[in-house]
């Protein structure tokens, strides 16, 4: 029996893959799969299907992904990802995902950092469509007894003995009962959203707690400093609402006012890619424009030049969302946007097979550090979650385990106020532009917070937050999502994965990226 933690795309993909080969799994998540962050994904999923008459192939996809990630990703993993992408999208078609079609043919859209139209989509609701299809598929295997769901169960910790994972400790959030599931584990628990309370586009269920607890147990983490700020978000209540890159993929333009005149700065600064650079580049450009005294201080997304029929066909859901929340009609007026935290390229340090530094423990999806290097391309994480879940499931061995020690039933949680404090500190240290002074200040604040009365969960999260800051401190260069104004250049000697470990204290090392194998 394999235990899968998380029922987003990565978890579902793993469970279905295991079931197809006859291996049973437990699928554990804090809430039902319909509530996982994956349902929020908007713009699409990448695969070189070559349906747009642009002579695309998977090697183009490979090259764009490697370059977009500033050559920090494992080339062999990325090769596998891109090569398998068309098969994955074809599988999704077999599951009934209603991808956009025209004249009987599938169509794909432009996305940032990609030279070809390669992003398959369903309006601006791609994640929800994929999830509905995968949830139905998982239900089939559940009815055959190959998947057992634990849909309101929070995993508090894993059982790790002699650097081997032997099971998961979960709490039934309805009954309060604590259960231990025995067997190897695939972590698919999503990104580190919870470390930046209310400052991200993601799901509040992805608290980052489990990964923090495991870090302190010795689980190694990769590239924790690599955080993606999405160029276009809007504040609502207490979160950031994403305006999908599809807005620019379909012709939206970034704009500010200079001397009271509209100024489409991306088109001047990046005459080739224009509004569709990679996200790290667009975000820094916006940041600079917002701080430029000659400009108005605000940045707008102008979609008024896109034909209304295109909007209605491809982005009607986005139009409705903006109307609903802000009373903005994107067809009629440019609207204010700003960068916001959107994705975590870093996470559990895994190899090409998704094996972590602990035996019997695999990780896939956004919780893992894989495929995206220093900056993720839009449309690559849905792909990475499905392919990663599948790869982990294909490689994990269903071994018998024996738990020897008494299991600690430790189910602490961080208080919201503590989470707010951590988020404030991290936002200061790990902003769009970083430097030693800022990071050290943030680390100092962590030291002060450490002196307060903290429960175990809070201590673990604080340690993890420090590891994030130290990863950023030690990477003395700028690359992808990590920009340091005290080291503004990319330094070839840092073309390595930062690996954070914990053994009484935090350690940061830089590990070589594997050489690309001849294929």
């Amino acid at each position: 029996m394999i235990n899968i933690i998380g029922s987003g795309l990565a978890g579902l993909s793993a469970a279905i893959t295991l079931a197809k080969k006859g291996t049973a799994s437990n699928l554990v998540s804090v809430q039902e799969a319909q509530r996982a962050q994956s349902v929020m994904a908007e713009g699409g999923i990448n695969a070189a299907l070559n349906v747009m008459g642009e002579d695309d192939n998977f090697m183009n996809h490979y090259e764009d992904t490697m370059k977009g990630g500033a050559y920090l990703a494992d080339p062999n993993s990325v090769y596998g990802l891109c090569k398998n992408a068309p098969d994955i999208v074809n599988w999704l078609i077999e599951l009934g995902v209603p991808f956009e079609m025209k004249n009987g043919k599938m169509i794909q859209r432009n996305f940032g950092g990609q030279k070809k139209k390669r992003t398959a989509y369903v309006k601006s609701s791609t994640g929800k469509m994929l999830m509905s299809a995968l949830i139905d598929e998982a239900r089939k295997y559940e009815s055959k007894g190959l998947i057992t769901r634990y849909p309101h169960h929070k995993v508090a910790d894993l059982v790790v003995e002699d650097n081997t994972c032997k099971g998961a400790i979960l709490k039934d959030e309805y009954s309060g009962e604590v259960i231990t599931l025995h067997g190897p584990v695939i972590l698919a628990c999503g990104g580190l959203t919870g470390l930046f309370r209310c400052r991200t586009t993601g799901s509040s269920d992805n608290t980052g707690q489990l990964v923090s607890n495991l870090f302190v147990k010795g689980l190694k983490m990769g590239n924790l400093e690599m955080i993606q700020y999405h160029p276009t978000t809007i504040d609502i209540g207490d979160k950031k609402l994403l305006v999908s890159e599809a807005a620019r993929g379909e012709g939206g333009r970034l704009m500010t006012y200079r001397n009271n005149e509209p100024y489409y700065f991306m088109e001047e600064l990046y005459p080739e890619e224009k509004n569709l650079t990679t996200r790290d580049v667009a975000t820094r450009a916006i940041y600079k424009i917002m701080n430029d005294k000659e400009c108005s201080g605000d940045v707008y997304l102008d979609m008024t030049g896109i034909k209304e029929e295109i909007i209605n066909e491809r982005l009607s859901d986005m139009r409705e969302e903006l109307l609903d929340y802000f009373n903005i009609d994107l067809c009629k007026e440019p609207f204010k946007v700003k960068p916001g935290i959107h994705y975590f390229m870093g996470g559990v340090y895994v190899d090409e097979k998704h094996q972590s530094s602990i035996a019997n423990l695999y990780a896939a999806g956004e919780c893992a550090c894989q495929y995206h290097g220093a900056n993720r391309l839009g449309g690559n994480s849905l792909l990475g979650a499905i392919y990663g879940g599948k790869t982990a499931a294909e490689n994990i061995e269903d071994v018998e385990v024996k738990i020897t020690k008494e299991i600690l039933k430790d189910c602490d949680e961080c208080s919201p106020l503590f989470n707010e404090k951590i988020a404030t500190i991290l936002s200061e240290g790990l902003g769009i532009i970083r430097n030693e002074e800022g990071i050290l200040k943030a680390l100092d604040k962590c030291e002060s917070l450490e002196k307060e009365e903290l429960n175990k969960a809070e201590q673990n999260k604080l340690t993890f937050a420090k590891a994030m800051l130290k990863s950023a401190l030690n990477r003395k260069e700028s690359r992808g999502g990590h920009y340091r104004d005290d080291y503004p250049e990319t330094d070839e000697s840092y073309r390595k994965t930062s690996v954070a470990g914990y053994d009484q204290d935090i350690t940061i090392n830089f590990a070589d990226i594997p050489e690309r194998r001849p294929q």
């Binding site: 509530r35 009934g96 995902v97 209603p98 079609m101 469509m129 299809a133 598929e137 209540g237 919201p416």
Partner: protein
């Protein structure tokens, strides 16, 4: 503002009303952010200055995409993250959905929805068939959040009978729409038994659906195929 919350401790049978004073931060604040902000207080106290436990509720996406935060807001089922507080007068009353067993505070057990889908075998035995023509219905049907708001207002739904309401009918509509002929018979039987025969067609569910799914269009399509046997051909 006055925030009234119908609360219940885990494992207990009785609910109690607790009232909080709340200073709104912005005009476009949502009910969800009110709940988050109350829990953020160093010490949560009710309107009488009595110490209160943190409020327990569910949320995930914060933007109407996951159905977690469905509750009764001034008596009407809706999503906390979709409800701007500016649309209410000075008092907002929050209660758990009433059609489902209460776990604690605003959290209810909606497992029945998944059980129903399993019972109806909402999945493809074989490959789905998609086409430009079928896509629109599939898109619409796939949007169902499994929030349960439609069930809350449905006169015919209860956790004890076998009528699934629209929370069952919507995912089912996707399957029916993309089905190949082989599976049609079995699925049609299930649709008739668990959806068509139980529905009084009063359509109270239509206006309440926070995803604004075109429920009627979905039913017309599913009825045509599964009840009137007009199998779709492309």
């Amino acid at each position: 503002m006055r925030i009234e919350i119908l609360r219940r401790k885990k494992g207990e049978k009785d609910s109690y009303l607790q009232v909080f004073e709340y200073e709104k931060t912005t005009d476009d604040e949502t009910v969800l952010s009110v709940l988050n902000n109350l829990n953020l207080r160093e010490e949560l106290k009710d309107i009488n200055g009595e110490k209160a436990e943190k409020i327990v509720f569910k949320s995930s996406c914060g933007q109407k995409k996951c159905g977690s935060c469905a509750m009764l807001i001034n008596g009407r089922p809706g999503l906390a993250c979709a409800s701007r507080i500016s649309q209410y007068s000075d008092t907002i009353r929050l209660e758990p959905l009433k059609k489902f067993p209460v776990i604690e505070d605003l959290v209810v057990d909606r497992s029945i929805m998944e059980e129903n889908l399993k019972q109806m075998k909402v999945f493809f035995e074989d490959k789905a068939i998609i086409s430009e023509k079928r896509n629109q219905v599939s898109y619409e049907a796939s949007r169902c959040l499994q929030c349960g708001c439609c069930l809350e207002v449905c006169p015919n739904f209860s956790v004890d009978n076998n009528f699934t309401g629209m929370a069952g009918a919507m995912p089912m509509s996707r399957i029916i729409n993309e089905l190949d002929k082989k599976q049609l018979k079995e699925i049609s039987k299930a649709y008739n038994k668990f959806v068509y025969n139980g529905c009084g067609k009063s359509l109270s569910c239509v206006d309440i659906c926070p995803a604004k799914i075109k429920i009627e269009d979905m039913l017309v399509n599913s009825n045509a195929i599964a009840v009137w046997k007009r199998y779709l051909k492309d």
